[in-house]
Amino acid sequence: MTEPLIQLKHVSKVYGAAGRGRGEAPGVTALEKLTIDFHAGEFTAIAGPSGSGKSTLLNLIGTIDAPTHGEIRFQDRRVSGLGEDELADFRLRQFGFVFQAYNLIPVLTAVENVEYPLVLQGVPRAERRARSLEALKWVGLEREGDRRPDLLSGGQQQRVAVARAIVHRPAVVLADEPTANLDSKTAAALLDMMLDLNKKHGITFLFSSHDPVVLSRARRVLHLRDGKLQDEAV
């Protein structure tokens, strides 16, 4: 067995815990003592009903939120406790994000949105344009590069978001409910595309969903309930 890419050790997240004084309501526990390992190349779904802690878990893994207790390690390096700039650089190198609401920058075209992580990495203009167009090709949108998000359908916007998430060759793509706003046909197509990228290019995908059809495509499914790991299916 290879070393895990990401390790969560007794990770808890309590909202409203900081600064809580005597007599105030206790914080809301979103995750409780989770210990999970993720390996490179996984295509893993985090399942569970609304409020079960799926998004919180992805946020903690993606370092856009910090655990209240426990430790998160990435390639055996402790990431909890890094400074804001170090965390930003770390995310830029290691993660790609796909959000439920697509979250494309509305004033940028599709290809400019895809380019953005490469801009942050300081990749030269010509190279980043070529790589962005290639990423758009991978998601089947090479002809839509000059369109702004408001001229794309929901499914197209989410595919642009996937292209943006993979363009800089991150170690892991974190997708929070990526199909929640899509119709079933488009959702299935998006899942197929993500699975294809996982198989062909070895990109690790961790995504959350509560849709059984989506979950059926995952090679590993972690079920969360009330912030706890209920069971795991492989």
């Binding site: 946020n59 993606g62 856009i64 939120d65 804001e84 700039d85 930003a88 650089d89 995310r91 830029l92 190198r93 994000f97 959000f99 979250n103 920058i105 509305p106 004033v107 940028l108 400019e112 953005y116 992580p117 801009v119 942050l120 990495q121 943006r164």
Partner: protein, 404 residues
Amino acid sequence: MIRLAWRNLWRNRRRSALTLLSISCGLAAVMLGQSLMKTIQQQMIEKSTGVMLGHLQAQAEGVQDHKVPEKTYPRPASFESALRADSRVKEVSARLLYTGLISSAAGSRGVLVAGVEPRTEAKVSIIHTYLREGSYFTGNPRDVVIGDRLASDLDVRVGEKLVIMAQGPNAEMASELFRVAGIYHSGSESYDEQVAYIPLAMAQRLRGAEGRISHLVATLKDISLVPQVRSEFQLLARKEGAELLGFRQIGFEVEGIIRFEDAILVVVLVIIFAIVGLGVLNTISMSMFERIREFGVLRALGARPALIVRMIGTEAFFLGAIGAAAGIALGGAIIAYWGRTGLSLPVGKALSYWLPFETMVYLQPQWRLHLGSAAGLVVVSLLAAVGPAVRAARIVVAEALRSL
């Protein structure tokens, strides 16, 4: 980042356009105020130095009233020669001023008797340019040049006789007969009604002050050299019992008005800057609150907090710079228009009692001040963005992503 900041600026076109309008109108108003004040100040300096003060005056040491010093002193020959020989000096002319009584068959009036050297006086004073009738001295030692109001009061015309009476050195009264050589209209009540110009030699004889003067007036080729020339020649003037003064020391009223106007300009500038700053703060703050989720996305993708600060700062810079450029164009156009057609202002009438002053002000641009104000507005825009930018940079990414 620059492209993103530029496009962000135009997301809400109406809001950005209104902010740009407020910046440009504010700057145009500041420019108009600067141009108006400075044009009036320049006119005041030109008129006050032109009609009486000159750029530099040598007076007897210890004079209290620099306007009409009762003290006379021997004409300082060495100092005068040195001054004339200096390449920065345009002209030098001597005067003897005192109060006297001027009479005609129709009546008498108290006047300031100004003994002048006509040839050189015409180069240090602009009174001759206001001549309406007759000549600015004919060479006759008994010529007198007076204003039209005085001529009307005394009911005299060119060629008619007048008597000037003044106190001699031993308190006895002396009088001389003069003939009106010319009548001028400067527009200033005090000059047109209360001054009589006669040749210096006759003024000295009437006063019993042969060889003595009250002022040695000099004009320079460049008025900005006054402090430098004054400082260089002061010692030489003192050796001959004189004190060299610049027009700002003598015309302290003008100096006071200029300072007062400059203070008003500063107050107006501060008010406009505050209004513009609040406008930019409002625009940037609104824009920031609308984009909290986007900032969260950018931070999640790997943007450092400093990049968010730079992006918002760039947006504020664009707002300030475009507004300032539009303001310069608008203000410049207004100033150019009123510079060509003139702006009729009652200020001319208010000042004309003691100075000849045009009621029509032809505005002149003050580019150094205008560009300074424009740069100030850009800085104010940047400062207004500091708060929102820092707040945007400090967002909690996960919370920002949850915001609507």
